[in-house]
Point group: C2
Chain length 342, copies 2
DNA sequence: TTGAAAGCGCTAACAG
DNA sequence: CTGTTAGCGCTTTCAA
């Protein structure tokens, strides 16, 4: 049978649809008596508003889009874990899309060109789009960017301070007495901002300690995944003068590097110490466990949602701001050794 | 400015909205000349249909819900990775929700009680709901169940044959000469069907080989995650007669167990061989790599979407069917040792 | 405080 | 082949 409509309820309660709407939405004041009648009818019919109709009338969709490059990257799925409930709490549904880092796909999304993807705002973790490309978008789309681009003043950006986090990671290695420290994951091109910030932190840490950087130890990699980490490590280990430590630009890279190092017969951290970035759960269970930079994911997720909903609600476009999130260094076995492991 | 509507286009092209709609949707045949005029107007105005309106008129939402217990469980995120593009291709958006295995939440969803969650059908991986509870739902909700419940005739179920997969895994261990094989993850209660099927396969493999099962080696665990695996392994290793192998009910459990075994100073697989279930990428990079049962995730994802869309499109409810998916055993270092590692 | 009625933008009977 | 028109179910302006 057809679902009961507002009109059905109105009829049963003997009032107009307008009044029922008022009761349902708690809008205008309604007489206690009327409200009671309406509520009874509502219950009796088990009425549920048709959201499509409501949204059409209200001119909004009640949905936000969350767009990440890869859904199966633990960092993103852990972030989503925080974003979804927060959005649901605040009355929004979450549409998810993944781009595989495809620039065209990302561009289409921020231009709202996708015919079949209705949303009131978007949380995007761009990968294919560089800073400039981000500005070429639907100006009316409330947008929050995650990761390492910076705000151009028309959208919010939430993320941790990559430079200082990377400096911390590198300094940790230096503090442990390591001197030939590789950096795995640099991306010296327009879309590689995230990587470049990390490289910058790596350099600063060296400078802080009065150490020179061996440029040949900075390894470029297109993605922050396991394969890239493993490949890079193999390449480094093939050198006559391999590194005694590596700052990996993601935990996945570190995990891949770890695998390659162990396969090559090295001991971690005795022969080579490893530190990652992201603090994914996997790094807490690997053998050895992975030292890492832990971004405050809960805060990032919550803040991203809150900012986005604010932007959506704002009658006139809000200025875009930078929202910093915290991070901390977590030292585990891959740098400290088993003694203090847990 | 306001987005152009169908009416605007019609006006510009000098035809009726009906004709524009026909052109946009490719419905009725349209004169070449008319079509050209309309298409030109369409392009000129950069017209994009309002989906809310379209869906309201069509009486559907154009969205499917995908509901999993945990988004950050690799198995699910890898599955989602397959589901989303497939659904998008077929013109559907994907709404995601996670339940944390909460029965009440799952029940609410299949009853379509959630006021603010519009979808035409649902792909659900139930955790909190047992077989019986699954039948108590909105009878009009096109539903595809993933995992280990079986179809009650009103929804489709897609999944691999857990019993035979588990038998394969156990037989692999037996074939390697192991005789004290633990099973980690049994759940002897209503919602633990998945686990029970695996235990059954474990028993069958023993029977096949003419071996007795040591009941005390079957370890119960509420969840299939890393912590449970680690805890279970610690408990097993504390025994005077520890096992020489373990069939873990998920890769995550195996990874946790691996961690605990190595921490206890054991060698894997020399002292204890481990096999998991799910074939998540993490198991291909752990040290040692994890032998596992690999379900055909691509097929599961694609089939689930296809079946669901069929159910949605069907004018009259389709009978629910069982859709089997394939699996294969992948032997890696955690059972074979490093010699053949890759 | 409540009713009547006009949309929101699109689809789809029903003519013609 | 194309125009007219009545909804889809809800919100909301305007009156009363």
């Amino acid at each position: 049978m057809r679902d009961p409509t507002l009109r059905d309820v109105a009829q049963l309660a003997g009032v107009s649809p307008r009044t029922v709407s008022n009761v349902v939405n708690g809008y205008a004041p309604v007489t206690e008596r009327t409200r009671r009648k309406v509520e009874q009818a509502l219950a009796q019919l088990d009425y549920r508003p048709n959201l499509l109709a409501r949204n059409l009338a209200r001119g909004r969709s009640g949905q936000i889009a969350v767009v990440v490059p890869y859904l199966d990257t633990p960092y993103f799925s852990e972030l989503l874990q925080g974003i979804i409930p927060r959005a649901r709490e605040r009355g929004y549904n979450v549409l998810i899309d993944q781009t595989d880092g495809d620039a065209a796909h990302e561009r289409e999304l921020i231009r709202r060109a996708a015919r079949a993807f209705p949303f009131d705002g978007m949380i995007l973790s761009p990968l294919g789009l560089d800073q400039a490309a981000l500005s070429d978008r639907d100006p009316d789309l409330p947008l929050v960017i995650l990761g390492e681009r910076s705000s151009d003043g028309t959208f919010d950006h939430v993320g941790i301070d990559d430079v200082s986090a990377s400096r911390d990671a590198t300094a940790h290695l230096i503090g442990l007495g390591r001197r030939r420290i590789a950096a795995i994951g640099d991306q010296p091109y327009a879309t590689g901002e995230a990587a470049q910030l990390r490289t910058r932190g790596y350099r600063i840490a060296h400078a802080d300690a009065g150490l020179d950087v061996d440029e040949s130890l900075i390894v470029r990699r297109p993605r922050f995944n396991r394969i890239d980490g493993a490949d890079a490590m193999r390449q480094l280990l093939a050198r006559p003068d391999p590194p005694d430590a590596a700052f990996c630009y993601s935990d996945l890279v570190a995990l891949g590097a770890l695998r390659a190092a162990l396969q090559a017969g090295l001991r971690v951290p005795e022969d080579i110490a490893l530190i990652g970035y992201d603090d994914i759960e996997e790094g807490r269970y690997s053998n050895p466990t992975i030292s890492t930079i832990s971004p405050d994911k809960a805060t990032i997720a919550a803040t991203a949602v809150d900012r986005l909903l604010q932007r959506i609600a704002a009658p006139t476009p809000l200025p875009g701001i930078e929202v910093p999130a915290g991070h901390r260094l977590i030292a585990r076995e891959s740098t400290l050794g088993r003694t203090s492991g847990g």
